[in-house]
Protein backbone atom coordinates (compact mmCIF):
# COMPACT_ATOMS: atom_id res chain seq x y z
CA UNK A 1 0.00 0.00 0.00
CA UNK A 2 2.73 2.49 0.96
CA UNK A 3 4.54 1.29 -2.14
CA UNK A 4 1.51 2.38 -4.16
CA UNK A 5 1.54 5.87 -2.64
CA UNK A 6 5.29 6.19 -3.12
CA UNK A 7 4.85 5.72 -6.91
CA UNK A 8 8.44 4.57 -7.24
CA UNK A 9 9.74 7.86 -5.82
CA UNK A 10 7.48 9.97 -8.07
CA UNK A 11 4.66 10.27 -5.52
CA UNK A 12 4.92 14.06 -5.25
CA UNK A 13 4.52 14.53 -9.01
CA UNK A 14 1.89 11.84 -9.62
CA UNK A 15 -0.30 12.71 -6.62
CA UNK A 16 0.27 16.42 -7.16
CA UNK A 17 -1.23 15.95 -10.63
CA UNK A 18 -4.12 13.69 -9.60
CA UNK A 19 -4.87 15.65 -6.43
CA UNK A 20 -5.13 19.05 -8.10
CA UNK A 21 -7.25 17.57 -10.91
CA UNK A 22 -9.63 16.12 -8.29
CA UNK A 23 -9.76 19.44 -6.40
CA UNK A 24 -10.57 21.33 -9.61
CA UNK A 25 -13.43 18.94 -10.43
CA UNK A 26 -14.87 19.16 -6.90
CA UNK A 27 -14.51 22.96 -6.82
CA UNK A 28 -16.20 23.33 -10.21
CA UNK A 29 -19.15 21.14 -9.21
CA UNK A 30 -19.59 23.05 -5.93
CA UNK A 31 -19.33 26.41 -7.67
CA UNK A 32 -21.91 25.46 -10.34
CA UNK A 33 -24.22 24.19 -7.60
CA UNK A 34 -23.96 27.29 -5.40
CA UNK A 35 -24.37 29.60 -8.40
CA UNK A 36 -27.52 27.69 -9.38
CA UNK A 37 -28.98 28.04 -5.88
CA UNK A 38 -28.23 31.76 -5.76
CA UNK A 39 -29.66 32.35 -9.25
CA UNK A 40 -32.84 30.38 -8.48
CA UNK A 41 -33.29 32.39 -5.27
CA UNK A 42 -32.97 35.64 -7.26
CA UNK A 43 -35.42 34.35 -9.87
CA UNK A 44 -37.92 33.50 -7.14
CA UNK A 45 -37.71 37.07 -5.84
CA UNK A 46 -38.24 38.42 -9.34
CA UNK A 47 -41.13 36.09 -10.19
CA UNK A 48 -44.57 37.72 -10.06
CA UNK A 49 -46.33 36.69 -6.84
CA UNK A 50 -49.80 36.27 -8.30
CA UNK A 51 -48.62 33.71 -10.86
CA UNK A 52 -50.36 30.39 -10.36
CA UNK A 53 -51.63 31.42 -6.94
Amino acid sequence: MSQFFAMGGYGFYVWGAYGVAALVVIAEILSVRSKRRATLAEARLAAPTELGR
Binding site: Y13, V14, A17, A21, V24, T39, A43, R44, L51
Partner: protein, 244 residues
Protein backbone atom coordinates in the same frame (compact mmCIF):
# COMPACT_ATOMS: atom_id res chain seq x y z
CA UNK B 1 -38.79 15.13 -34.30
CA UNK B 2 -38.32 18.84 -34.64
CA UNK B 3 -34.78 19.59 -33.47
CA UNK B 4 -35.16 23.34 -33.94
CA UNK B 5 -37.50 23.25 -30.98
CA UNK B 6 -34.47 22.78 -28.72
CA UNK B 7 -32.85 25.97 -29.93
CA UNK B 8 -35.20 27.89 -27.63
CA UNK B 9 -34.09 28.18 -23.99
CA UNK B 10 -37.56 27.22 -22.71
CA UNK B 11 -37.46 23.77 -24.32
CA UNK B 12 -33.74 23.22 -23.89
CA UNK B 13 -33.83 23.91 -20.14
CA UNK B 14 -35.86 20.77 -19.23
CA UNK B 15 -34.04 18.65 -21.86
CA UNK B 16 -30.66 19.61 -20.36
CA UNK B 17 -32.02 18.79 -16.91
CA UNK B 18 -32.92 15.27 -18.05
CA UNK B 19 -29.56 14.71 -19.79
CA UNK B 20 -27.29 15.83 -16.93
CA UNK B 21 -27.66 12.71 -14.69
CA UNK B 22 -26.85 10.37 -17.61
CA UNK B 23 -23.67 12.21 -18.54
CA UNK B 24 -22.67 12.69 -14.90
CA UNK B 25 -23.05 8.98 -14.03
CA UNK B 26 -21.31 7.93 -17.25
CA UNK B 27 -18.44 10.26 -16.36
CA UNK B 28 -18.23 8.89 -12.81
CA UNK B 29 -18.28 5.26 -13.98
CA UNK B 30 -15.66 5.89 -16.68
CA UNK B 31 -13.46 7.72 -14.16
CA UNK B 32 -13.53 4.70 -11.83
CA UNK B 33 -12.68 2.31 -14.69
CA UNK B 34 -10.05 4.68 -16.10
CA UNK B 35 -8.34 5.20 -12.72
CA UNK B 36 -8.36 1.45 -12.12
CA UNK B 37 -6.68 0.81 -15.47
CA UNK B 38 -4.31 3.76 -15.11
CA UNK B 39 -3.21 3.25 -11.50
CA UNK B 40 -3.53 -0.50 -11.09
CA UNK B 41 -3.55 -2.54 -14.31
CA UNK B 42 -1.22 -0.51 -16.54
CA UNK B 43 2.38 -1.60 -15.91
CA UNK B 44 5.29 0.65 -14.92
CA UNK B 45 6.88 2.40 -17.89
CA UNK B 46 10.36 1.06 -18.63
CA UNK B 47 11.83 4.54 -19.19
CA UNK B 48 9.82 6.88 -16.99
CA UNK B 49 8.90 4.58 -14.12
CA UNK B 50 5.66 5.53 -12.37
CA UNK B 51 5.87 9.22 -13.35
CA UNK B 52 4.26 8.45 -16.70
CA UNK B 53 0.93 7.79 -14.92
CA UNK B 54 0.34 11.54 -15.09
CA UNK B 55 -0.57 10.84 -18.73
CA UNK B 56 -4.03 9.59 -17.70
CA UNK B 57 -4.91 13.10 -16.50
CA UNK B 58 -2.66 15.21 -18.71
CA UNK B 59 -3.63 14.01 -22.18
CA UNK B 60 -7.42 13.87 -21.65
CA UNK B 61 -7.50 17.40 -20.15
CA UNK B 62 -5.19 18.74 -22.87
CA UNK B 63 -7.42 17.25 -25.58
CA UNK B 64 -10.52 18.66 -23.90
CA UNK B 65 -8.93 22.09 -23.53
CA UNK B 66 -8.52 22.34 -27.31
CA UNK B 67 -11.78 20.60 -28.20
CA UNK B 68 -13.88 22.74 -25.84
CA UNK B 69 -12.35 25.88 -27.31
CA UNK B 70 -13.43 24.83 -30.80
CA UNK B 71 -16.93 23.98 -29.53
CA UNK B 72 -17.11 27.39 -27.81
CA UNK B 73 -16.03 29.12 -31.03
CA UNK B 74 -18.56 27.01 -32.98
CA UNK B 75 -21.44 28.17 -30.76
CA UNK B 76 -20.14 31.73 -31.05
CA UNK B 77 -20.16 31.47 -34.85
CA UNK B 78 -23.67 30.03 -34.77
CA UNK B 79 -24.79 32.95 -32.61
CA UNK B 80 -23.22 35.49 -34.97
CA UNK B 81 -24.81 33.81 -37.98
CA UNK B 82 -28.30 33.04 -36.73
CA UNK B 83 -28.61 35.31 -33.68
CA UNK B 84 -29.81 32.35 -31.57
CA UNK B 85 -29.36 33.37 -27.95
CA UNK B 86 -29.08 29.79 -26.69
CA UNK B 87 -25.90 29.39 -28.80
CA UNK B 88 -24.37 32.36 -27.01
CA UNK B 89 -25.39 30.90 -23.66
CA UNK B 90 -23.72 27.59 -24.59
CA UNK B 91 -20.52 29.45 -25.48
CA UNK B 92 -20.73 31.31 -22.16
CA UNK B 93 -21.21 28.02 -20.26
CA UNK B 94 -18.21 26.32 -21.91
CA UNK B 95 -15.58 28.99 -21.14
CA UNK B 96 -15.00 28.23 -17.41
CA UNK B 97 -14.78 24.46 -17.97
CA UNK B 98 -12.40 25.02 -20.88
CA UNK B 99 -10.23 27.27 -18.74
CA UNK B 100 -10.13 24.66 -15.95
CA UNK B 101 -9.22 21.86 -18.39
CA UNK B 102 -6.42 24.05 -19.75
CA UNK B 103 -5.19 24.82 -16.24
CA UNK B 104 -5.13 21.12 -15.28
CA UNK B 105 -3.34 20.23 -18.54
CA UNK B 106 -0.65 22.85 -17.81
CA UNK B 107 -0.37 21.92 -14.14
CA UNK B 108 -0.05 18.18 -14.74
CA UNK B 109 2.34 18.79 -17.64
CA UNK B 110 4.52 20.87 -15.38
CA UNK B 111 4.59 18.14 -12.72
CA UNK B 112 5.40 15.61 -15.42
CA UNK B 113 8.13 17.77 -16.96
CA UNK B 114 10.15 18.11 -13.76
CA UNK B 115 11.03 14.39 -13.28
CA UNK B 116 11.29 13.59 -17.01
CA UNK B 117 12.88 16.72 -18.51
CA UNK B 118 14.35 18.28 -15.38
CA UNK B 119 12.22 21.42 -15.54
CA UNK B 120 8.70 22.50 -14.54
CA UNK B 121 8.42 24.90 -17.42
CA UNK B 122 10.04 25.80 -20.71
CA UNK B 123 8.99 28.43 -23.24
CA UNK B 124 8.66 25.91 -26.03
CA UNK B 125 5.98 26.18 -28.70
CA UNK B 126 3.61 23.55 -27.25
CA UNK B 127 3.63 24.93 -23.72
CA UNK B 128 3.54 28.59 -24.74
CA UNK B 129 0.60 28.08 -27.12
CA UNK B 130 -1.29 26.11 -24.44
CA UNK B 131 -0.65 28.96 -21.99
CA UNK B 132 -2.03 31.37 -24.60
CA UNK B 133 -5.11 29.13 -24.76
CA UNK B 134 -5.59 29.64 -21.02
CA UNK B 135 -5.30 33.41 -21.49
CA UNK B 136 -7.83 33.26 -24.35
CA UNK B 137 -10.35 31.50 -22.13
CA UNK B 138 -9.71 33.97 -19.30
CA UNK B 139 -9.94 36.81 -21.82
CA UNK B 140 -13.36 35.62 -23.03
CA UNK B 141 -14.58 35.36 -19.43
CA UNK B 142 -13.19 38.79 -18.50
CA UNK B 143 -14.60 40.38 -21.65
CA UNK B 144 -18.08 39.13 -20.80
CA UNK B 145 -17.94 40.47 -17.27
CA UNK B 146 -16.69 43.83 -18.56
CA UNK B 147 -19.73 44.43 -20.83
CA UNK B 148 -23.06 45.17 -19.15
CA UNK B 149 -25.37 44.52 -22.10
CA UNK B 150 -25.57 40.70 -22.47
CA UNK B 151 -26.25 40.82 -26.23
CA UNK B 152 -23.22 43.00 -26.89
CA UNK B 153 -21.16 40.75 -24.59
CA UNK B 154 -22.33 37.69 -26.58
CA UNK B 155 -21.22 39.31 -29.81
CA UNK B 156 -17.83 40.46 -28.48
CA UNK B 157 -17.09 37.06 -26.88
CA UNK B 158 -18.06 35.22 -30.07
CA UNK B 159 -15.69 37.37 -32.13
CA UNK B 160 -12.84 36.94 -29.65
CA UNK B 161 -13.43 33.14 -29.52
CA UNK B 162 -13.37 32.90 -33.31
CA UNK B 163 -10.20 34.97 -33.65
CA UNK B 164 -8.53 32.92 -30.91
CA UNK B 165 -9.48 29.64 -32.61
CA UNK B 166 -6.39 29.95 -34.86
CA UNK B 167 -4.38 29.09 -31.75
CA UNK B 168 -5.86 25.58 -31.55
CA UNK B 169 -4.21 24.16 -34.70
CA UNK B 170 -1.04 25.96 -33.61
CA UNK B 171 -1.11 24.00 -30.33
CA UNK B 172 -1.88 20.74 -32.09
CA UNK B 173 0.83 21.04 -34.75
CA UNK B 174 3.38 22.91 -32.60
CA UNK B 175 5.31 19.70 -31.93
CA UNK B 176 5.64 19.16 -35.71
CA UNK B 177 6.27 22.73 -36.81
CA UNK B 178 8.85 23.58 -34.16
CA UNK B 179 11.59 21.74 -32.37
CA UNK B 180 9.97 21.41 -28.97
CA UNK B 181 10.97 19.98 -25.64
CA UNK B 182 7.48 18.50 -25.59
CA UNK B 183 7.31 15.17 -27.38
CA UNK B 184 5.34 14.61 -30.57
CA UNK B 185 1.90 13.01 -30.66
CA UNK B 186 1.78 9.37 -29.56
CA UNK B 187 -1.81 9.05 -30.69
CA UNK B 188 -3.11 10.50 -33.94
CA UNK B 189 -5.97 9.69 -36.32
CA UNK B 190 -3.57 7.37 -38.18
CA UNK B 191 -2.60 5.21 -35.23
CA UNK B 192 -0.96 4.88 -31.83
CA UNK B 193 2.59 4.31 -30.63
CA UNK B 194 1.55 3.30 -27.12
CA UNK B 195 1.11 -0.02 -25.38
CA UNK B 196 -2.56 -0.96 -25.79
CA UNK B 197 -3.40 -1.08 -22.06
CA UNK B 198 -1.95 2.40 -21.53
CA UNK B 199 -3.86 3.63 -24.57
CA UNK B 200 -7.05 2.03 -23.22
CA UNK B 201 -6.67 3.83 -19.88
CA UNK B 202 -6.05 7.13 -21.64
CA UNK B 203 -9.07 6.74 -23.91
CA UNK B 204 -11.37 5.77 -21.02
CA UNK B 205 -10.20 8.83 -19.06
CA UNK B 206 -10.73 10.97 -22.17
CA UNK B 207 -14.34 9.83 -22.47
CA UNK B 208 -14.74 10.47 -18.73
CA UNK B 209 -13.44 14.04 -19.21
CA UNK B 210 -15.73 14.48 -22.20
CA UNK B 211 -18.88 13.35 -20.40
CA UNK B 212 -17.92 15.34 -17.32
CA UNK B 213 -17.55 18.45 -19.46
CA UNK B 214 -20.95 17.86 -21.10
CA UNK B 215 -22.65 17.38 -17.72
CA UNK B 216 -21.09 20.41 -16.05
CA UNK B 217 -21.62 22.67 -19.09
CA UNK B 218 -25.30 21.65 -19.29
CA UNK B 219 -25.67 22.35 -15.57
CA UNK B 220 -24.05 25.76 -16.00
CA UNK B 221 -26.12 26.68 -19.06
CA UNK B 222 -29.30 25.94 -17.09
CA UNK B 223 -28.24 28.50 -14.50
CA UNK B 224 -27.38 30.97 -17.26
CA UNK B 225 -30.84 30.42 -18.78
CA UNK B 226 -32.53 31.12 -15.43
CA UNK B 227 -30.38 34.22 -15.00
CA UNK B 228 -30.90 35.64 -18.48
CA UNK B 229 -34.53 34.68 -19.12
CA UNK B 230 -35.66 36.22 -15.85
CA UNK B 231 -39.17 37.56 -16.14
CA UNK B 232 -40.23 35.06 -18.81
CA UNK B 233 -43.57 33.43 -18.02
CA UNK B 234 -42.33 29.85 -18.64
CA UNK B 235 -39.52 30.42 -16.16
CA UNK B 236 -41.78 31.77 -13.43
CA UNK B 237 -43.97 28.69 -13.86
CA UNK B 238 -41.11 26.26 -13.17
CA UNK B 239 -41.49 24.45 -9.84
CA UNK B 240 -37.96 25.46 -8.78
CA UNK B 241 -38.73 29.13 -9.44
CA UNK B 242 -42.44 29.45 -8.57
CA UNK B 243 -43.02 30.88 -5.11
CA UNK B 244 -43.68 28.26 -2.46
Amino acid sequence: MNWYRFSSPSSFYPLAGRLIPWFAWAAAALTVVGLYIGLSIAPTDFQQGEAYRIIFIHVPTAWMSMFLYLVMAFWGALFLGFNTRLSAMMAQAIAPTGALMTFVALWTGSLWGRPTWGTYWAWDARMTSELILLFLYLGVIALRSAIDDPRRADRACAVLSLVGAVNVPIIYYSVKWWNTLHQGASVSPTGSKMASIMLAGMLVMSFAAWFYAIAVVLARVRTIIVDRERGAAWLAALPEVAKA
